[in-house]
Amino acid sequence: MAKKIKIIVAKPGLDGHDRGAKLLARIFAEEGMEVVYTGLRQTPEMIVAAAEQEDADVVGLSSLSGVHNYFFPKVVELLKSKGLNDVLVVGGGIIPIEDYDFLQKSGVKAIFGPGTPTMDIVSFIKSNVRAR
């Protein structure tokens, strides 16, 4: 049985804009990944619990409401506190370019803004995902 990349697609915070997250969830599935879509209004604790129980290789966070600087690093931090250091965390949504550096320093491995070709996201994930 071929191993599948398991990815959590989550919307942290109170942001209700999930069109992009849903589209990406479908794109990842089309690429042969197993996508766990957690739905809206997730706390970092919920996202990390899902990642832990699902043995997720990747956590994809989407934010369009300006809360990324709080929520994204928090997810990374919680993953680390559970020893899940090798889970690839990526983010996307409406994120000002000046925040990219901070987020990447906090452990979000890549930020994909509007207009990113979806295949760039897919190939980034495929080439940076852990082995298990």
């Binding site: 049985m1 042969g32 879509y37 739905g39 919920m46 559970k82 020893g83 899940l84 250091n85 298990r132």
Partner: protein, 388 residues
């Protein structure tokens, strides 16, 4: 001298590098290095050489050296999570741990929830979890969704409805894709149930994929099977058919606030009544109206499930049921493993491709090919016996 904690690290990487000085105290140079920094290791070491007495390198190549069985019995969620992934991947590393865990299984009560897509299985499961947790029991959930037959990918959406329980340490939710397995579940679902059972969950809920009429494998795994129906999907003849309508210990008429719920209730009850004339059974299925989104009828449903559990236990049916299940499961496991061995061998040297070509060109036929291959394996087995 304390060694730094080495929590789980799932990639083949060196996790921590601890450097101790001559008096045995941990030097302040305990550091974490990732896989990508591996090439720096010699340089880092040589820089430190003057005080270097011992270097402890914790190698955690994908938890491979860890005793999963022990850690699962001790309550490690991450060990459960990884073992399940291996089982899904048919990774051979899983099997020794399953052997160790098996004696610890058989304690959980297994509940199957099945029904058509959109019937409300996940929402119903969510509300059932709430009720079960109120009584203090712990719950494991295996929620199955379909894999794409074209890409192999899957969108697993059952967790959305169960968000409320995602941070409850006594609830373990695992989504699974079918990966081409028919029958309403994934191939590894039965193994995953065993892991959660050994993990100590009191009740394990299997939520099948949205099923049609004939995907009834859940009945071979569950102690109690609930079939979730919704109004508006067909007339009385649908409820008389074989397959899904036969496997229920309990029927749930969900979305019971919608038009047609009473009609459906009557039709199902009529079927149950017919069944009492046709087959002898100590248990007469019951019908339960629920509105899962509003948490209506769920408490009563859980009580009815417990009644069925009592019936199974007091009548000796549970033992009988599990004997049948074990019989089927043993056969299935042998079947699967033999199939896997033969398939892998045929694929490994490209022989299968050649055979397929020859069959396509009508130079051979699949029937004699099948026999030929089986003959090789039959020949192989007694020979091995002699050797041993």
């Amino acid at each position: 001298m304390e060694r730094p904690d080495a929590p789980y690290c799932e990639s083949p990487a060196i996790r921590t590098l601890s450097i101790y000085d001559e008096v045995g105290d941990s030097a302040d140079s305990t550091c974490e290095i990732g896989y990508s920094h591996l090439e720096l290791l010699p340089r880092m070491l040589s820089a430190r050489e003057p005080v270097l007495l011992s270097v402890v390198v914790e190698r955690t190549s994908g938890l491979m050296n860890r005793d999963y069985a022990k850690q699962i019995l001790e309550g490690s969620q991450q060990a459960v999570a990884r073992l399940i992934s291996w089982l899904e991947d048919e990774d051979e590393r899983a099997y020794p741990f399953m052997e160790e865990l098996y004696p610890h299984t058989g304690k959980a009560y297994i509940l199957g929830i099945t029904g058509s897509p959109g019937a409300g299985k996940s929402t119903l499961t969510d509300k059932l979890i709430r009720n079960i947790r109120k009584s203090g029991l712990t719950v494991g959930i295996v929620a199955v969704d379909p894999s794409s037959p074209f890409t192999g990918g899957a969108l697993l959406g059952d967790r959305i409805r169960m968000s409320e329980h995602s941070t409850d340490p006594d609830v373990y939710i695992r989504s699974m894709a079918t990966r081409g397995f028919l029958g309403g579940m994934a191939k590894a679902t039965c193994d995953v149930v065993k892991v959660l059972d050994a993990f100590g969950k009191d009740v394990i809920i299997i939520e099948t994929v949205g099923v049609g009429q004939d995907e009834v494998d859940v009945v071979g795994l569950a102690d109690t099977t609930c079939v979730v129906l919704v109004p508006g999907l067909g007339d009385v003849i649908q409820s008389m058919k074989a397959g899904i309508m036969e496997i229920a210990d309990l029927y749930v008429v969900n979305k019971a606030d919608r038009e047609g719920a009473d009609q459906l209730n009557m039709e199902v009850s009529a079927r149950i009544e017919q069944d009492t004339h046709i087959k002898m059974s100590g248990w007469t299925p019951t019908v339960h109206k629920t509105v899962a989104v509003d948490n209506v009828g769920i408490k009563e449903l859980w009580e009815a499930i417990l009644k069925h559990k009592d019936f199974l236990e007091s009548s000796g049916r549970l033992v009988e049921k599990r004997r049948n299940q074990t019989y089927q499961e043993t056969l299935r496991m042998i079947h699967n493993e033999m199939f896997r061995l033969i398939r892998d061998q045929l694929q490994e040297n490209g022989r299968l491709d050649r055979l397929v070509e020859e069959i396509l060109e009508r130079r051979r036929d699949p029937y004699s090919t099948m026999r030929e291959i089986l003959d090789e394996w039959q020949f192989f087995t007694p020979k091995q016996k002699e050797a041993s």
